[in-house]
C-alpha cells in the first residue's frame, strides 16, 4: 500500500513538473539527485565536474519530461540520461580513447579477497582505470548493459567493448591482489 501511494505521489509530481511547476521539479530533483551524482561520479573522476554533468542531465530531464512514456521506471530513465551526459562530457574533453586491439579472451585466475571492499575503495580502484576501460567496465558491471548496447552507446564495435572490459578486469584484478597482499602484510 505504501509503495502504491508512493508511486501515485510520484505520478502526481511528474504531472505537475510537466506543467512547469517549479516546486514539483525541485522535489523530483531532491529525490533523485544523490543517486544521479553517484552515477556521474562513476564516469567522471572530479566531483565538481561530475556535479556539472548531473546539473546538465537534470536540465535535460525537465526539458524532455514530455518524452517519458511511463513504460519503465522514472529512475531508470533519468539514469540513462545521466550516463549519456557523462559519456558526452568525456568525449567532448577527449578523455576517452578506446583501444581497438583484439585480445584473446582467456580466462584468468580469479583473485578472491577475504574481506569486502568499501564502496569508496572500489571507487578509488575504478578511478585508477584509464577512461576507456572505466567506461565500459562501469556500464557493464555497475549498470548492467550488454556489450551490444555498450557498443551502440559509445559508437564502438562489440568486440572493442569486450576487449576493453577484459583489460579493465585484468587491471582491477592486479590492483586488488596487490591491495590484498598489502593488507596481509600489515596484518
Amino acid at each position: 500500500m505504501k509503495i502504491i501511494s508512493l508511486y501515485e505521489n510520484q505520478k502526481r509530481m511528474l504531472k505537475k513538473a510537466l506543467k512547469g511547476d517549479r516546486n514539483a521539479q525541485r522535489m523530483l530533483y531532491e529525490k533523485f539527485a544523490p543517486k544521479m551524482l553517484s552515477v556521474c561520479r562513476q564516469y567522471v573522476k572530479d566531483r565538481h565536474f561530475a556535479e556539472d554533468v548531473m546539473i546538465n542531465g537534470f536540465v535535460k530531464v525537465f526539458n524532455g519530461l514530455h518524452t517519458f512514456r511511463n513504460e519503465g521506471s522514472f529512475e531508470g530513465w533519468v539514469r540513462k540520461i545521466m550516463i549519456r551526459e557523462a559519456i558526452s562530457y568525456l568525449r567532448k574533453n577527449q578523455f576517452v580513447v578506446f583501444d581497438s586491439d583484439q585480445i584473446d579472451l582467456v580466462a584468468e585466475e580469479t583473485v578472491f579477497l577475504e574481506s569486502s571492499l568499501q564502496a569508496s575503495e572500489v571507487q578509488v580502484l575504478i578511478d585508477s582505470l584509464p577512461e576507456g576501460y572505466k567506461m565500459v567496465f562501469v556500464l557493464y558491471v555497475v549498470e548492467g548493459y550488454k556489450h551490444k548496447e555498450i557498443a551502440s552507446m559509445l559508437n564502438i564495435s562489440e568486440s572493442t567493448s569486450k576487449s576493453q572490459f577484459f583489460k579493465a578486469r585484468n587491471y582491477l584484478q592486479q590492483r586488488i591482489s596487490s591491495l590484498a597482499l598489502a593488507k596481509e602484510g600489515q596484518s
Binding site: 531532491e30 556535479e51 526539458n63 564502496a119
Partner: protein, 225 residues
C-alpha cells in the same frame, strides 16, 4: 555501487533553475513572436479588405432658403396662358422673341423645405424626374400657346410652332444652366453651346432640304399649269 549516493552541493538546484528559467523564457519569447506575427498579418488582411471596398459619396445636407415674396407653388396653366397671351399680343413677332433678353423674373415662389440629400444614385433619379417634369410643363405651355393662336389667328404655320418650341427649349436650357442655386452650371452651359453648334448645322441642312423641296414643288406646279 549501483545504490551508492553522494549529496550534491547546495547551489546545484539554483543552477538548474537558472537554466530552466532561461529556456522557458526563450520558449515564451518564441510564442510571443508567433503571436505578434499572426496579429500583424491579420491587421494587414483587414486593412486590404477595407481599402478595396468601394466608398459611396455622402452628400451633406442642404437647406433651401425660403423667400419671403411669394410662397405659392409654381403658377398654374391659366396664369401661364394669360401672361403669354399678353406677350404675343404686344410683340406680334414670335420668331425673334428671345426670352433671355427680356427682363424676366424668375418665379419667386420656391418650395420651402429642408431636405436631406439622398445618396448619389437616388439624387440622380430625382434630378432626371424633375427635368422630365419641366419638359412636360413646357410642352403643355407650347400646346396652350398654339391653341390660343389657332383661336385668335386661325391656322398656325410650322414656323410659328417651331419658334414656340425653340423658345421653350431656350427657357429650359436657361433654367438648367443657372439652376436652383442661382449659380451657373458649367457643364450645362457647355452642353448648351454644343447644342447651338449642332443646331446651326442642323438648321443649315434643314434649310437646304426645304429649299430643294420648295423648288421641286414649284417646278411640278408650273409643269402642271
Amino acid at each position: 555501487m549501483y545504490e551508492r549516493s553522494i549529496t550534491p552541493s547546495e547551489n546545484a538546484w539554483s543552477k538548474i533553475e537558472d537554466q530552466l528559467g532561461s529556456s522557458s523564457q526563450t520558449a515564451k519569447r518564441g510564442y510571443w513572436a508567433y503571436g505578434i506575427a499572426a496579429g500583424f498579418i491579420g491587421i494587414l488582411f483587414i486593412s486590404i479588405f477595407f481599402l478595396t471596398q468601394p466608398v459611396a459619396e455622402v452628400i451633406p445636407t442642404q437647406e433651401v432658403v425660403k423667400t419671403t415674396d411669394n410662397t405659392s407653388d409654381i403658377p398654374n396653366t391659366l396664369e401661364i396662358q394669360e401672361s403669354l397671351k399678353d406677350d404675343f399680343e404686344n410683340t406680334g413677332d414670335l420668331v425673334q422673341k428671345d426670352p433671355l433678353q427680356e427682363n424676366t423674373q424668375l418665379p419667386n415662389d420656391v418650395l420651402v423645405q429642408n431636405m436631406v440629400q439622398p445618396k448619389f444614385l437616388d439624387e440622380k433619379i430625382v434630378e432626371d424626374f424633375v427635368a422630365l417634369e419641366k419638359v412636360d410643363t413646357k410642352i403643355a405651355e407650347v400646346m396652350t400657346q398654339v391653341t390660343i393662336l389657332e383661336q385668335t389667328q386661325g391656322a398656325v404655320s410650322d414656323a410659328t410652332v417651331d419658334s414656340l418650341l425653340r423658345t421653350a427649349q431656350k427657357e429650359l436650357l436657361r433654367e438648367r444652366i443657372i439652376g436652383d442655386s442661382q449659380a451657373v452650371d458649367a457643364l450645362a452651359l457647355l452642353s448648351d453651346v454644343e447644342d447651338e453648334l449642332n443646331r446651326s448645322l442642323r438648321d443649315q441642312l434643314f434649310e437646304k432640304l426645304k429649299d430643294g423641296y420648295v423648288k421641286v414643288r414649284s417646278a411640278i406646279a408650273y409643269r402642271n399649269e
